[in-house]
Amino acid sequence: MIRPNALTPKLALSFGALVAFGCLVPLIVEDYDSYQITVAFSYGIAILGLNILTGYNGQFSIGHSAFFAIGAYTAAIMVSHFGWHPYATLPFVAMAAFIVGFLFGFPALRLEGLYLALATFALAVATPQILKVDALEHWTGGVQGLFFDKPGALLGFSIDQSLYYVTWIVFVALMALTWALLHSRSGRAIMAIRDNPIAASTMGINTALYKTTTFGISAMFAGLGGAFFAFANAFVSPDTFNFFIAVYLLVGSVVGGIVSIPGALLGGLFYVFGQEYAEEVSNLSDLIPPPWVTFGIFLILMMYFAPFGIWGAIERGMARLKRVSSS
């Protein structure tokens, strides 16, 4: 899935169906499930950012946990210390994360592949440490973190359902936005930089500007995801946002389908529910190894049988069906 599908009635219809289905879900399942899916969405939003940066722009990041954390903490600080309504913080979360990502994009220009990975990794590892620093304790809550109330219930729905709807709406809006971006001239430039950076700059594309801006956008998405994550759990704490989150985001991204938009949704769901199923499988018998071993095996098998991620597999499946039915 190197470039996103063109706007056809079929695409619009499918997207609409997806949005509608998503809206139906909380009405059928319990509050706990809505909460879980909301957490999956928050990861999904961050993964979408990662897909843009790595899948569509070719810049490697194993540090998105840092932007996730920035979003979460920005929201938490504004809610806890300044009494803002959670949803009102979102524009600021987006801005803060974008700025940090954009600034990080500059030094990132000099680094390629593995070295960029190291730089992003350094950022991810440094984040919990910085959040715990005594000097910032008044704002960040130090090692304890910050606790606050979940966003209130809306329109007669339960608290969990309401948060689900807001997260879902933002998620689909961001998906549509991403699609629009990738279909524009900028999008073509972004992908050109991924495919052949030298040719791209020869053609007059300001690769430096595009790369840093893409970093900013990607960070912004991750920050928004972080904010929703914070809302869902009603707290933030520094050690939560460690390097492993960045790894899992990458895992979700690849498993969902890194060069795709729906892959982000699938990746987020996989992250949350993959762990659940691994746990259930392991609990079947004492002879079965612990859940993370099962999960690790899942991952490896996924890579063998769905090398383009779940979305890639779906697309190929659909293409094959089309070929079979038209032959």
Partner: protein, 398 residues
């Protein structure tokens, strides 16, 4: 018989009324109780998952003997990997999907903090949490949460007092883990020092992702400290002990209780290097020969033989798991009102209970205003072989 019928009817009524606030007996029937737990079976704190295993084994055995208070125990223990968001997920699952009666001995300070408000909002008991943080004993604000083990900050105060009473010209170095647990201890120690905080010449943190604490120990020796307060988990405590030995630094070494296990910490560090270490204890160390002939130890040892024969006996957490299971057993056995509120009430009504693997002289006491079941400890010094208790049992309950 009539009483039982009345109770049955009450239970049925409360179940049918959708768990009304007064007589909420979710997860409790006449013949069974569903108990939930979270433990770090994976991740950085996985060493403590032994506690989950011990409790599981205890309930399994009890079930073969007719259960507790006539009821089979369905014990559901989920892995949270010591990650607070995951704890939130797992606990919500336990409460909302599995419909447990209450949460028992969930492990960790940050993890329990994450669900603290939730449990109290949902009015589900968060009983005997496996952490020594000081915030679990606030019955007025959080009536559904109760601690278990002596709190870290009281232990820190005990050490401070010991230093002030026994060391002339103390120059104090403190090593602490850079998280909730470490800072709780540290703050307790600082509180205990009162206005003498300037006696501290070096205060250095470490992260669990650090490979060693060698550089911190080197710096502390260089600072000229003659007292070392070691607030670290077993792996790092062992490193600290061994490094001090290597560089010939011999301060008065106060080791926090969570790392006082002979087999988990002192043996790897080196028994001869550990000579002279002081800790505040409340449990019997299973490798200590002085307890071998006591009833409590024999009871525990036989239980281990029956249920966990291949386990590492030296791990003090098996004793902890056994102790806290016995406490719950006692609470449930003597509880007439088997509803969530009733169980909480019974937990807040324990008087002078002796537990088999707790030091003699330290008893469990709770009341509606005292949600700290165990608040006493005794100082002990390591003689190269075992922890030798000295002084009196220090009771900090107030």
């Amino acid at each position: 018989m009539k009483l039982k019928r009345i109770l049955l009817a009450a239970v049925a009524a409360s179940v049918m009324s959708g768990g009304a606030a007064v007589a909420d007996s979710t997860g409790i029937t006449d013949t069974s109780i569903k108990i939930g737990n979270t433990n770090p079976y994976s991740g950085p704190a996985s060493a403590y998952s032994v506690i989950g295993k011990a409790i599981s084994a205890y309930f399994k055995e009890m079930n073969t003997k007719g259960g507790i208070n006539g009821r089979t125990i369905e014990f559901i223990s989920l892995d949270d990997g010591y990650s607070p968001p995951r704890t939130v997920q797992q606990v919500r699952k336990l409460v909302e999907k599995e419909k447990i009666a209450f949460l028992f001995q969930s492990l960790g300070t940050p993890t329990n903090s994450a669900i603290h408000k939730y449990m109290n909002q949902k009015k589900v008991p968060q009983l005997f949490v496996a952490t020594g943080a000081s915030k679990w004993g606030q019955p007025e604000k959080y009536p559904w949460t109760m601690g278990f083990q002596p709190t870290y900050d009281v232990e820190g105060e005990i050490y401070a007092k010991y230093v002030l009473d026994n060391v002339e010209n103390p120059k104090i170095a403190v090593l602490f883990q850079n998280d909730d647990y470490g800072k709780d201890y540290r703050d307790g120690f600082l509180r205990g020092l009162g206005d003498k905080k300037d006696l501290i010449v070096s205060m250095l943190p470490y992260e669990t992702t650090d490979p060693t604490v060698d550089s911190q120990i080197l710096a502390m020796k260089d600072s000229g400290a003659n007292v070392f307060v070691n607030i670290s988990i077993p792996k790092f405590a062992a490193q600290a002990i061994r490094k001090s030995c290597e560089i010939d630094w011999k301060p008065l070494h106060l080791l926090n209780n969570v790392s006082s296990s002979v087999s988990a910490t002192l043996k790897p560090a080196g028994l001869d290097c550990s000579e002279g270490l002081i800790t505040a204890q409340w449990m019997k160390d299973p490798t200590d020969p002085q307890w071998a002939e006591t009833d409590g130890f024999k009871e525990w040892s036989a239980w281990m033989d029956r249920n966990l024969p291949d386990a590492d006996r030296g791990d003090v957490n098996y004793g902890l798991g056994y102790n806290v299971s016995k406490l719950l057993h006692h609470v449930l056995d003597n509880c007439e009102d088997m509803t969530r509120k009733g169980i909480m009430g019974c937990a807040a009504n324990v008087k002078d209970l002796e537990l088999p693997m707790v030091l003699p002289g330290i008893l469990v006491n709770t009341s509606p205003t005292d949600f700290y079941p165990i608040q006493a400890a005794q100082l002990s010094k390591f003689d190269g072989q075992k922890w030798a208790l000295f002084g009196d049992v220090i009771d900090a309950s107030n």
